[in-house]
């Protein structure tokens, strides 16, 4: 199936009443949960994804994509209106976004963010369409050794890049791998680390893990530092539209943000966060209005938010092409796709091309729905933010508990939710990173599978893992990245301690 035919097929599937309604509901729910302070897109997505499980594959995929875009947009809204980033990737938006809000340009900024996110996301989807087939063709020649290098090496890179210190990423990664070994072992059917509890035979639910370590932990942080709630400023409809000058100044940053975001999304690590910082730095060095950036300039919001959405989309390239998630959000998407019997990876395009194109179409539809509902509904999100924390946060916690229970009607998941929340809180308090934990929990079974397959095929010869040129190349990249990160971290420590010694 060619690209045009495939896309046309996917769009035909997507544009039915049921699927459009699913896209609307997904974008609405995703934005609502993303707007909530204290939850963030990853935990929000984890909370909402189980609701897609009961739907058909194409409807479920469309709703998921819309939720993802909605959650990311919602996180930006709190940054701009309340100076409270909903996630790490929205931190940089606070700088200029909130200053523009105080100048009375909140509506216009939100409009530009929606437009930029749409443009960045759409162009990024086109990039995904072009890159994934090439990557998939390359990956067909991969064997267990190459996939082991890719999954294990990618996870190591993620753990190193996510955190400043080695231990801050490595220990959570190891913990996530430990979690992944709980349950029924795939090949022999042996129960591992279940302590005789039947429910644990199915392993740890990914949604419970994500909501616990991200959502519950984050709510604990918010409750701990509860301050008198700042009410978001009222946004008038007539102030919604940007001026011609604001639009003119936004185009170039949106273009640059798209490219930066797309490229960053292809690498393992906190791509969206890195993309926003990189896009902001690029604007500060190339923009005609660089002096205004940092003091309330549209460039300081348009570029990072476009990069954020573009990166979130291009993160789908390794997921769809290789079947490997390199972020918490795509890890959740992988889990949800497998529930719908969609196995992303190099064979997806050859064995189920219609499914692949449905996923692509769902990304287009989700992106469109983001703009369609979020621009007119900015007032609704502002009103949501005016709901007091003492009502919102306990309600969200209840929904998290019910959502966890609903996954397999087990109280065990609710107990685990609380325990994981406490673990997530403790790790974050000590500046440990949580993304390697979640991605480790998802990649663990894949890493084990490729490891055992490699040993089986080589009759126990471990040198198989570094005997092919591709595997050697991948491990070399891993070693170089780990070494450079460590050198950079060491250099920063020396620079920070130098003034004290002087």
């Amino acid at each position: 199936m060619g690209a045009i035919d495939g896309l046309w097929y996917g769009l035909n599937l997507a544009f039915t009443a049921q699927n459009l309604l699913a896209a609307f509901a997904g974008a609405f729910a995703g934005t609502a949960i993303g707007v909530l302070p204290g939850f963030g897109p990853t935990a929000g997505l984890a909370l909402l994804l189980p609701f897609t499980y009961a739907m058909g594959p194409s409807t479920g995929l469309i709703m998921m994509a819309a939720m993802l875009y909605g959650a990311m947009y919602g996180g930006s809204t709190t940054s701009i209106l309340m100076n409270m980033p909903g996630e790490a990737a929205s931190v940089i938006t606070c700088i200029d976004g909130y200053k523009l809000t105080k100048k009375g340009r909140a509506g216009a900024v939100l409009f530009i963010v929606a437009a930029g996110s749409f443009i960045g996301g759409t162009i990024s989807v086109i990039g995904v369409m072009l890159f994934v087939p090439t990557l998939a063709q390359l990956a067909i020649i991969f064997g267990p050794a190459e996939f082991f290098a890719l999954t294990a090496g990618g996870l190591l890179i993620l753990s190193r890049i996510s955190a400043g210190s080695f231990a801050a990423g490595f220990l959570p990664m190891a913990l996530g791998l430990m979690f992944s070994t709980i349950g029924l072992e795939a090949v022999t059917g042996q129960n591992r680390f279940t302590f005789g509890v039947n429910d644990l035979s199915q392993g740890l639910e990914l949604a419970v893990l994500a909501v616990g370590v991200y959502g519950i932990a984050e709510v604990m942080f918010v409750v701990e530092s509860l301050r008198s709630q700042e009410r978001p400023l009222h946004v008038k409809v007539r102030e919604m539209l940007p001026t011609r000058q604001e639009l003119r100044r936004s185009w170039a940053p949106i273009g640059r943000g798209t490219v930066v975001g797309f490229l960053f999304g292809l690498i393992p690590g906190p791509s969206a966060t890195l993309a926003t910082f990189a896009a902001y730095r690029l604007e500060k060095s190339t923009s005609k209005h660089k002096d205004e950036i940092g003091h309330g300039a549209v460039e300081g919001v348009a570029a990072p938010e476009t990069a954020n959405n573009a990166a979130a989309t291009s993160l789908m390239v390794p997921l769809l092409g290789l079947g490997i998630p390199f972020s918490s959000a795509t890890a959740l998407m992988l889990g949800a796709m497998m529930v719908h019997n969609v196995q992303p990876g190099p064979l997806l395009m050859t064995t189920n091309p219609e499914v692949f194109w449905t996923v692509i179409a769902s990304m287009f539809v989700g992106n469109v729905m983001l703009v369609v509902i979020n621009v007119p509904m900015i007032g609704v999100w502002v009103r949501m933010l005016r709901i007091p924390s003492y009502i919102l946060l306990p309600t969200v916690l209840l929904m998290a508990a019910i959502g966890s229970y609903s996954l397999r009607n087990s109280m065990l998941d609710v107990y685990l939710l609380l325990v994981l929340g406490i673990i997530g809180y403790a790790l974050r308090k000590l500046d440990f990173q949580l993304a390697p934990l979640v991605v480790g929990a998802v990649l663990g079974p894949m890493i084990e599978k490729h490891f055992r397959e490699g040993l089986f095929m080589s009759q126990g010869d471990v040198s198989v893992f570094w005997s092919s040129p591709i595997a050697i190349g991948l491990w070399s990249i891993v070693l170089v990245v780990m070494a450079l990160s460590s050198i950079a971290h060491l250099r920063n420590r020396i620079l920070l301690s130098a003034p004290n010694e002087a």
């Binding site: 220990l171 190891a174 430990m178 604990m220 701990e224 209840l398 109280m411 107990y415 009759q459």
Partner: protein, 157 residues
């Protein structure tokens, strides 16, 4: 925010030590699994590798903690901030333990009342009213409309 400070060094040493203890238990259980041989690795091989990784990670954490200066401090909550946090954890604990017996509506209402009182200065009447409205709304949406079979408990709805 009221705060007490904890040396980051102590935090890292504690986490690293905890990790070592966890690894010891994990590896103890992993070695009891069938190991197979190199050509046909059993269910225990990967957990042993992961346990080894965890040992390494824990030792790295202890090493980093050891090398961290005593000047690096972390803020822990104290006073009212700590009380709120403890009430949150306590309320959630009581909710998850009590849910099977009390049922969704009663457990949710009690949970909401305790948290809302701690997080705000609003009157008891308003807190109880909000809690009941939210609990019943959640019940209607999730249990009745979405058919999530939450525990019924003493109310038996």
């Amino acid at each position: 925010m009221d705060a007490v400070h904890l040396q980051k060094r102590k935090g890292y040493l504690s986490i690293g030590t905890g990790g070592l203890l966890l690894s010891a238990g994990y590896l103890g259980m992993a070695f009891q699994l069938p190991l197979g041989d190199m050509a046909r690795p059993g269910a225990g091989i990967f957990p042993i590798l992961v346990g080894g990784l965890m040992v390494f990670a824990s030792l790295s954490t202890i090493w980093e903690g050891w090398r961290t200066g005593t000047g690096e401090q972390l803020e822990l909550p104290s006073g009212q901030d700590r009380s709120r946090l403890l009430v949150l954890v306590g309320a959630m604990s009581v909710y998850v333990v009590g849910l099977p017996w009390l049922g969704q509506i009663v457990a949710s209402t009690l949970f909401l009342i305790s948290l809302m009182r701690v997080m705000s200065d609003v009157s008891w009447l308003r807190v109880i009213t909000y809690s009941l409205v939210i609990s019943i709304t959640i019940y209607v949406v999730f249990v009745r409309l979405l058919n999530v079979p939450m525990p019924r408990g003493i109310v038996n709805f």
